[in-house]
């Protein structure tokens, strides 16, 4: 068999892109640069990407996604605090906005106050092997900016929570505040997009 022609790695990659429909690249390694540029998108992929970007611009020009890892119990408590606040006459009828309000409230506290609200290990999603999940919320970008400024202040003060931990503390503090006003309602298994007031104070629009 004659010896194979030697090609450079760059030439092999170019040939692979030219001859095959590009596969979506795996998740980019954080902190590791890619050795070669991403595969060129096909015409169909370019069209789809443009449509997605346009849709995103129309619906979320001033919000960004915040991921929070939160235990199942804490998530249920947050839902309960949210529906209870609404039933008590509050104006926030959307869960993401309730989360945002909790973040704003926490950002407005001093570093020392936030340290007092930091969840104990037993109450964190990792305490005693509690089940948890990552939840994603659309949060106004100005809230996220306030959150980041507060986190920077905490960093200077020697506190090192992750974004998820910080947000979890904010949510827990909001739940505590709601509990201080009285017992919390049982939330529905699945929250509606918006709460609506019915004849009964705690009627929820499903």
């Amino acid at each position: 068999m004659p010896p194979r022609k030697r090609l450079s790695i760059a030439d092999r990659n170019k040939a692979a892109i030219a001859h095959d429909t590009p596969e979506p690249l795996p998740e980019k390694d954080e902190g590791e640069q890619t050795a070669t540029p991403p595969a060129a998108p096909t015409k169909a992929q370019k069209t789809l990407t443009k449509q997605k970007k346009t849709t995103a611009a129309r619906t979320s020009s001033d919000t960004a996604r915040l991921g929070v890892y939160i235990s199942t119990d804490e998530y249920e408590d947050a839902k309960a605090a949210y529906v209870t606040a609404y039933a008590r006459g509050g104006q926030i009828d959307n869960f993401a906005r309730w989360i945002a309000a909790a973040l704003n409230e926490h950002a407005a506290r001093t570093t020392a106050q936030r340290a007092k609200h930091a969840r104990m290990k037993e109450r964190s999603p990792w305490g005693k092997g509690k089940a948890g999940a990552s939840r994603s919320f659309a949060i106004p970008t100005d809230t996220l900016e306030r959150m980041q400024e507060a986190m920077d202040d905490d960093l200077i003060a020697g506190q090192w929570p992750t974004r998820s931990e910080w947000a979890g503390d904010a949510i827990a503090a909001a739940v505590e505040a709601a509990r201080a006003e009285g017992p919390l309602l049982d939330p529905p298994k699945r929250l509606p997009n918006r709460l609506k007031r019915g004849k009964q104070r705690h009627t929820l629009d499903r």
Partner: protein, 252 residues
């Protein structure tokens, strides 16, 4: 010959950094090492000094499809003496549509046992056929788990995939042999808790953690494993400590 596969479906868990350290550590022990880069991004190849200008007769994808032997495709790693590389290229992108690759390494690597003493396989951040091929071939599966919830969650998925899809037929008894907590920052409560949970869930198989360090990124830019780029650094020492039980006792 011992075949090591570094795996986890979460990107950014330092699989490639860890694979490069394993290859370098084995080479320092005088072993002849074959490094197989199964990630189309080619980062493992880059960390061993392979560049876009490196000329090859064949690449890792060719070996997986039977178009070339490892002997023909291997090129010396410029950064680590004693290590040869099967380069990772975009050709790997199409292999998830070729079921025959799943046993390619398992069946081919024994044929080249005389050429190399050990094999180190870096896998892509996915659990497709290419990763399964590595898991089917490996004698030692190492999970590099970054100290974050996302990576911790994916470890369970890796364990399940091995148990349900690899161990029954392709590689009886296969499992995750070692877990290396990576990107560890002692100041973060979450990082400490991840290590505690790993030790709780996988007793006896969790190494000491490896710190987060800029040197790891700089080493990539330099095209070297971090222990070659910064031999006296804290992260290099962490890797030496973490890999010692793995390389001394590969099969726990």
């Amino acid at each position: 010959m011992t075949i090591y596969a570094v795996a986890l479906s979460k990107g950014g868990s330092t699989k490639t950094t860890t694979a490069a350290e394993i290859a370098a550590a084995l080479a320092r022990r005088g072993r002849r090492v074959l490094a197989i880069d199964l990630d189309q991004q080619g980062n493992f190849s880059t960390r061993l000094g392979i560049t876009n200008d490196t000329e090859v007769s064949a690449v890792a994808a060719d070996v997986m499809t039977g178009e070339s032997s490892a002997r023909e495709a291997a090129v010396p790693a410029p950064s680590v003496a004693g290590v040869d590389v099967l380069a990772g290229t975009y050709d790997l992108a199409t292999l998830d549509q070729r079921p025959e690759v799943i046993t390619a390494l398992r069946d081919h690597l024994p044929n080249v046992a005389g050429e190399w003493d050990d094999v180190v396989i870096d896998t892509p951040p996915a659990l497709g056929l290419v990763t399964l091929a590595a898991l089917a071939a490996a004698d030692v599966v190492v999970a590099a788990v970054a100290c974050e919830t996302e990576a911790y969650d994916q470890l369970d998925r890796l364990v399940d995939v091995i148990t349900q899809r690899v161990a029954p037929i392709m590689k009886p008894g296969q499992r995750v042999h070692w877990i290396i907590p990576t990107r560890h920052d002692t100041r973060r409560l979450l990082d400490r808790e991840v290590v505690e949970l790993l030790n709780r869930d996988h007793p006896g198989r969790v190494t000491t953690p490896v710190r987060e360090a800029v040197a790891a990124r700089d080493a990539y830019t330099a095209g070297q494993p971090v222990s070659v780029y910064a031999p006296g650094s804290g992260i290099a020492d962490d890797y030496a400590a973490a890999l010692a039980p793995i390389l001394d006792n590969p099969h726990t």
